[in-house]
C-alpha cells in the first residue's frame, strides 16, 4: 500500500476491508441463488421477492440489482470460508454452511426489526415496513428453515455424512444460543443492575455463538485436528466480543450515514434505552449522585433529547468510550493469541490480523 492511499484512507477514517470480507462474496451469492425458495410459480415470488430484497439483491418490486450495494458485511459466511481456507481446506465445499450462517443471521434481523419496530436497515425500509408484519414474520421463518438445508447440501458436496450432521448440530445449537441471548437481552433492558458479567454472558449467546460457530464449522470442514478446530472456536469467542462491543460503541457514537440504520449513532441506542456496554459500564462506575441521575433517566418510559444529551455527558465524564475501546482491544489480543494453536501460514495469519484490525476499528 502506498503512503498516499494510506493517508487518503486515514482521512476517511475508514479501515481497510480485509480481503476475506470480499473474497468469498460471489461464491456465497451463487450458492444462495440455488438455496432460494423457488418451486411452483404460484406464490413463490411472494416469498422470494422480500427475501431477495432483504438480502440486497432486488429492489422492492423484485427487480434484480446488478450491483447490490446494501448487503451487509457478510461477516459470518466470510469467517466460515476463511477458517476453511486458512486450514488448507476446500472452501468451496463449505459454502452451504456459509449460506446457512448468513440466513440464520438474517432471519434474526428480519424478526428483530418487527420486534423493535425498526423502519430502516442498511439504508432501506425494513421488510415489515414494506410488506407488513404477517408477511415479514413468514419471510424470516422461511430464511430460518432454508438455513437447515445446509447439512444435506454439504453431504451432496462430498462432506462425509457424519461431519455434515455435526455441522448441522452446531448450527442448531448456535442458533438456539442466539435466541436465548435475545431473550436475555429483552430482560436486560429492564434491569438497571445487570452488570458487566451479565452483559458479557448475554452477548456471548446473542452474538458470539454464531460467530464462533462460523469459524468452528469452517475449521471442521478443513481438518480433523481437534486442536486446530478448538483454536478457531476460541478465536470466534473473542471475536464475537470485539464485534458486539464495537457495535455498541457505534450505536452511541457512530455515524448514521455509515451504519445504515435510521437514527443509529448520535446517542440512538440511548434514546431506545438499550443497555449496551457503555451504559453498563456507566452504571458500574458512576458514583452515588451520577448513578442516581442515570437511574432516574433509565426508569422513564421514553427519553427526550435532553435526557439523551445528559446521558451522553455522563458517558463522557465517566470515560466509557475509552474504557469500551480498551475492552475491545484486550479481546482482540486474546483472539489473535487463541489462533496460535491453529499453526497458520503467513498468508492466513496476515489475513486474521487484518480481520481483527477491521473489527476493532470499523465505522459501520
Amino acid at each position: 500500500m502506498t503512503r498516499a492511499t494510506q493517508v487518503s484512507q486515514m482521512t476517511e477514517a475508514r479501515p481497510r476491508l480485509p480481503e476475506s470480507l470480499t473474497r468469498y462474496g460471489e461464491r456465497v451469492q451463487a450458492e444462495f441463488g440455488s438455496a432460494l425458495p423457488n418451486g411452483p410459480p404460484n406464490g413463490s415470488m411472494e416469498l422470494a421477492g422480500p427475501f431477495r430484497y432483504h438480502l440486497g439483491w432486488a429492489d422492492r418490486q423484485g427487480n434484480h440489482l446488478e450491483r447490490p450495494t446494501e448487503q451487509g458485511k457478510g461477516l459470518r459466511p466470510s469467517l466460515c470460508l476463511f477458517a476453511c481456507q486458512a486450514l488448507e481446506g476446500n472452501w468451496v465445499m463449505a459454502t452451504p454452511a456459509a449460506v446457512s450462517l448468513e440466513l440464520i443471521h438474517n432471519f434474526s434481523l428480519v424478526h428483530d426489526d418487527i420486534q423493535d419496530g425498526d423502519e430502516e436497515r442498511r439504508h432501506r425500509p425494513t421488510v415489515w415496513r414494506l410488506w407488513g408484519e404477517p408477511k415479514a414474520l413468514l419471510v424470516g421463518d422461511a430464511m430460518h428453515a432454508i438455513a437447515y438445508q445446509a447439512a444435506s447440501r454439504l453431504a451432496r458436496r462430498g462432506v462425509p455424512e457424519a461431519k455434515a450432521l455435526r455441522c448441522s448440530r452446531l448450527l442448531v445449537e448456535s442458533c438456539l444460543a442466539m435466541i436465548k441471548g435475545q431473550v436475555q437481552d429483552l430482560r436486560h433492558e429492564d434491569d438497571l443492575d445487570a452488570g458487566l458479567e451479565s452483559y458479557l454472558e448475554m452477548i456471548r449467546l446473542k452474538t458470539g455463538a454464531l460467530i464462533q460457530c462460523a469459524l468452528e464449522i469452517g475449521a471442521l470442514l478443513a481438518t480433523d485436528d481437534a486442536g486446530r478446530v478448538a483454536a478457531f472456536a476460541r478465536f470466534g469467542h473473542h471475536l464475537g466480543r470485539v464485534f458486539q462491543i464495537r457495535d455498541d460503541v457505534l450505536g452511541i457514537w457512530g455515524n448514521e450515514a455509515r451504519t445504515g440504520k435510521a437514527g443509529k449513532g448520535s446517542g440512538n441506542d440511548i434514546r431506545r434505552r438499550k443497555k449496551s456496554l457503555p451504559i453498563v459500564l456507566a452504571f458500574e462506575t458512576a458514583g452515588g449522585r451520577r448513578r442516581g441521575q442515570l437511574a432516574s433517566i433509565y426508569r422513564k418510559e421514553s427519553l427526550n433529547r435532553e435526557d439523551v444529551d445528559r446521558v451522553m455527558e455522563l458517558l463522557d465524564v465517566l470515560e466509557t468510550r475509552r474504557r469500551a475501546q480498551e475492552l475491545i482491544e484486550a479481546e482482540a489480543v486474546l483472539a489473535l493469541k487463541s489462533l496460535e494453536a491453529a499453526r497458520l501460514s503467513a498468508w492466513a495469519r496476515g489475513e486474521a490480523d487484518s480481520l481483527v484490525e477491521f473489527l476493532v476499528t470499523r465505522e459501520h
Copy 2:
C-alpha cells in the same frame, strides 16, 4: 365395545379417538423433555417456561402439570410413529422425528397467533397474550430451531446417517411448503375469485405437506421399500385434505367449547373473513344476486353480526356444509385406497381406518 358405550358415544356425537392418537403420547413427551432448551440456569426458564406452557405441560407460572389436558391432538407425531409401526419398524427409534414434526407445527401456531392477534388457543391465553409479542416471536423461533435437532438425534439413535439426512431434508422441505402455503393464505383472503383449485393448492402446502411428511418419514424409518413409503406419502396427501377441510367446517359450524379457540365455531371464521372451503364453494356456486350479496359483504373492512348471519344463511341455501363433507369423504376414500400398496397387517389397516374415520367426523 359394548352397545351401551357405543350409544353413549353416539349421544355425545364424539367419535372414538383412535388408538394411534393416544398410544405414542408418553414416548413423545419423554423425548420432548430431553429436547427442551435447558443449559445455563440464567435465562433458560425464560424460554422454557412459555415453551412448556404452550405445549400444555406447565401453567403460566411454569409449574409442571401432572395431567396436561390442553395439549392438542399430537396428530403429526402420532401419524409418524404409526406409519413406522405399521410397517414393522422400530417406532421408538423414530421419536426424534415425531418431536420435530410437533415442534414445527407448534412454532407455526405460536407465530400464527401473533399474526392473527388470537388471544386464546386450546382453552388458554396464547403465548403472546401472556408474555408479549417479542418474547412469543422468540419462543416460536426456538421451537423451530430445536425441530432441526432431529437429524443428529436420529443418527445417535442408530438410524443410518444417510437416512437421517434424508429425514432432515424432508422436514425442511415440508416446513418451507407450509410457510409458502401460509403466504398464499394471506393473499387468498383478499382474493374473492380464488376458486377451489387455488384453495386446494394452498392447503396442500399449508397443511398437507407436514402431514404427508409425518407419514413419509415414519415409513422411511421402517423400510427401504420405495413403493410402501410412497403409499404412505399419498395417504398423507389425502389425509391432509380431510384434516383441513374438516377444520374449515368446524371453523364455521364447530362448537367453541370443543375446539378450544375463543369464538371458534358459530361462524367465527366468517367474522374473520377467512376464505375457508365453505366460502370458496359458496363463491363458486352462488348465482348472480347471491354472489353479489356475498361479494359486497366480503369487501367490507369488518363484518358485524348481521353480516355473519346473512353469510350463514347463504351457506345453508347453497348447501355448502353437505358439499364440504362430501369432499372430505371422497378424500377419505382416496386416502385409504392409497394405502393398499403399503400391504399392511390387519391391525395396521384397522388402525388406519379408525384414524381416517376420526378425522372425517371429529368435533374438535
